[in-house]
């Protein structure tokens, strides 16, 4: 198996560069071009996708919706996808993954809704520091929590907390098509004040008989996800039910348990890092960082990224849970284990995601 994906896969093949661009490329240093171009328009860059914050709006208690204007180097998205957003915090670029909550618009603007996470560097920054006019780094949209081209059957969307954002995008996409098939959205929050998009969802539920919306506040007497809550959807016929779940790891796992077998299709995305299963592996292994010419000793049980960061090395990273592939790097040799799946790879020169891989043996990385 060859796995060579240095970054989130570009959603579309890039169009061939213009003749002028190809001619000029060898003589243009993108950093120099960007510096001078930014004096004319801060969004003008040679190749770097960037966005300017156009609007900032409270979406709920502790959550904001940012409307962004990307430059021409950002190539669009499909509802349900997410992207990397980067901002500089105390001199350091911090990148995290956010789902796009709107549907593609004619003016090219995009929106993300950010829930402030306790101790979350970027979410706190975006919720409290970011102002209209600020610039943010973007990466191509990716992710497969998307609707198929040919729609059929019934849809059940299960959102918990900020897991609402990609499912909101899907709901809006179906609403834009006048709700062509039955759709149910169940949205769990801790308190009703933390729920985003509620007014819009209620309006949609009134407008479309096909669309059912249920808001459940668990700290205000609502139940967590269970068989009873899902029963109406399942009883209406599981054989043509397509279910999507997005939320914390435990939530997504429970949803998969309850629906994974029965539903016709089931897709989930989770956003809390998985806990290493093999924590007993306390022995030390040597990690050679071949490009920087260093060798470090780390505990075998620790994910490589965290182990390296603890020693002051900062490889590229993003989601820190194995879905975004920002931290993918070539493993020259050694046995690595995927902490989430337990899958082991001894294949030399193979790409691993260091945020969810641990080194079972001494290992050599292209870092």
């Amino acid at each position: 198996m060859t796995t060579a994906f240095a970054s989130p896969p570009a959603s579309a093949t890039q169009p061939a560069p213009s003749l002028l661009r190809r001619w000029a490329q060898p003589f243009v240093d993108p950093a120099v071009f960007d510096y001078w171009a930014s004096h004319i328009n801060p969004l003008w860059t040679w190749e770097r996708p960037l966005a300017r914050v156009l609007e900032r709006e409270e979406a709920a208690a502790g959550a904001v919706t940012l409307t962004l204007q990307p430059n021409r180097h950002w190539k669009g998205f499909t509802p349900g996808q997410h992207l990397h957003i980067g901002a500089e915090i105390q001199g350091r670029r911090v990148t995290r993954s956010y789902s796009l909550s709107d549907i593609p618009r004619a003016d090219g603007r995009i929106a993300i809704t950010v829930q402030k996470v306790d101790g979350g560097l970027l979410s706190t920054h975006l919720c409290t520091q970011t102002q209209v006019g600020d610039l943010l780094e973007l990466a191509p949209a990716f992710g497969d929590l998307v609707l198929p081209k040919a729609l059929s059957g019934r849809y059940l969307l299960l959102a918990a907390g900020s897991g609402i954002t990609p499912l909101m995008s899907l709901t809006r996409a179906l609403a834009a098509q006048n709700m062509p098939l039955p759709l149910t959205l169940i949205y769990w929050v801790k308190t009703a004040a933390q729920a985003c998009f509620v007014a819009e969802l209620k309006t949609l539920a009134q407008r479309f008989a096909n669309f059912k919306f249920q808001l459940i506040a668990t700290q205000e007497g609502g139940q967590r996800i269970n068989t009873d809550l899902l029963a109406p959807s399942v009883e209406a016929g599981a054989q043509d039910l397509h279910a999507f779940a997005c939320g914390p790891g435990g939530f997504a796992a429970t949803a998969r348990e309850l629906l994974g077998e029965q539903a016709k299709s089931f897709k989930a995305e989770a956003f809390t890092p998985a806990v290493p299963l093999n924590t007993d592996s306390k022995h030390q292994v040597k990690v050679e960082l071949r490009r920087s010419g260093r060798t470090l000793e780390v505990a075998s049980g620790m994910p490589l990224l965290a182990a390296l960061e603890a020693q002051g090395v900062r490889p590229q990273s993003g989601c820190r849970m194995g879905i975004c592939h920002s931290c993918v790097c070539t493993k020259h040799e050694g046995l690595a284990e995927d902490i989430n799946t337990g899958e082991r790879s001894s294949e030399p020169e193979s790409a691993i995601r260091i945020c969810v891989s641990r080194a079972c043996t001494d290992i050599s990385l292209d870092l």
Binding site: Y35, R48, Q90, G91, R92, R93, V94, G293, R314, Q316
Partner: protein, 369 residues
């Protein structure tokens, strides 16, 4: 030199010494942040504006009457030379070391940064970041000892060719960027089993050279139309000014009188602490203020740079007093002096060792430690 100015340390002392250096590093790295990011961005901006000013002055000067043209030409060449010096030393050299990798800004990533000089950053990472910084001043391993051209230490083999080295040294200074560019490029072996890698390396180097030549000696002169030669000569002088300056600073870093060189047997079971110890004994600083620090890419703090090659160079000035104090307490000679004093010693070395010379007995003994 007859005897090392650095006293021998017991292995316990050496480890304590290393721990103090480690602690200084940890304190500094923990404090990196916005200030350092702002610093390197300001350097980047200065490089851009001095380059723009230099190229504009040369271009405009080409269309002015003679006395004005000369004034503009001088100012333009100086400004462009300054831009290249800052680009190569304070920006390029330091960024390529990965000093600003922690920022995560693609503009300042060591692995992808490219600079305004004929040598590729890829080749530089191997010769400089790896070989020179790991094997500093070890005969046979650190190619920077004389760059294969000059005999600067009595341990290097003498040949009659060395008699010409005062002239060679001057030419080398004028063409320094070319010397650095070809350093460690594979010399031969293009056809054998490993020929492919060698050919690729030379191809990349040739591409970089042609870009640099086309930029400075074709595109910008052509933009001036009839002023072609004015711009071309200005660019040539700017490149030479940069060559002479970088040569001067770099030679002052390792070829002053008191610096020590080592036999490769020091590498046997070398500890981190011993590596620190060797870096200090093999490097020399330049005493000066903000201007010298900035123009030298903070290589005026060669000792601190060799202890902490991947710590942002703007921090060296704050680390230096601490390093100096540690050295005083452990009896390690801290080699520093003015630019004229240190470069005078370099010139003396070049002249002295063009004639046969032998290492003194006391000095050889010090190397066994």
């Amino acid at each position: 030199m007859t005897k090392s100015l650095t006293r021998n340390l017991t292995s316990q002392e050496l480890e304590q010494f290393g721990a103090e250096i480690d602690a200084l590093r940890a304190r500094t790295v923990a404090d990196l942040g916005e200030r350092d990011a702002r610093y390197i961005r300001n350097i980047f901006k200065t490089v851009r504006w001095t380059e723009l000013a230099g190229r504009a002055l040369l271009m405009i000067g080409a269309f002015l009457p003679t006395p004005w043209m000369i004034g503009f030409w001088i100012a333009g060449a100086l400004s462009l030379g300054l831009s290249k010096i800052l680009d190569n030393m304070e920006l390029g050299h330091n960024v390529i070391h990965g000093q600003f990798d922690w920022m995560g800004d693609p503009k300042f990533q060591g692995k992808s940064f490219e600079w305004d000089i004929v040598g590729t950053s890829e080749n530089w990472r191997k010769t400089h970041n790896f070989r020179h910084h790991t094997y500093t001043n070890i005969h046979g391993l650190d190619d920077d000892i004389g760059y294969g051209l000059l005999r600067l230490f009595p341990e290097q083999k003498w040949s009659p060719l060395a008699l010409f080295q005062p002239i060679v040294a001057v030419l080398f200074a004028l063409l320094f960027q070319w010397g650095v560019a070809v350093q460690n490029l594979p010399k031969g072996g293009y056809f054998g089993k490993h020929g492919k890698a060698a050919r690729k390396e030379v191809k990349l180097a040739a591409r970089k050279v042609s870009h640099q030549l086309i930029k400075d000696y074709l595109i910008f002169p052509l933009l001036a139309g009839p002023g072609f030669l004015v711009v071309l000569s200005g660019n040539l002088v700017a490149n030479m000014l940069r060559n002479i300056w970088t040569y001067t600073i770099i030679f002052c870093g390792h070829f002053t009188t008191e610096v020590e060189t080592f036999h490769r047997n020091v590498l046997k079971n070398e500890t981190r602490a011993h590596w620190y110890w060797r870096q200090i004994r093999g490097s020399s600083n330049l005493a000066g203020g903000f201007v010298l620090n900035t123009l030298s890419g903070n290589l005026s703090h060669q000792i601190e740079h060799h202890l902490f090659p991947d710590v942002p160079a703007n921090r060296y000035v704050e680390m230096a007093p601490v390093v100096r104090d540690i050295c005083r307490r452990y009896g390690v000679h801290y080699n520093t002096g003015s630019l004229t004093k240190q470069f005078g010693q370099v010139i003396w070395r070049i002249l002295r060792h063009s004639f046969p010379s032998r290492p003194s007995r006391a000095r050889v003994a010090s190397l066994q430690s």
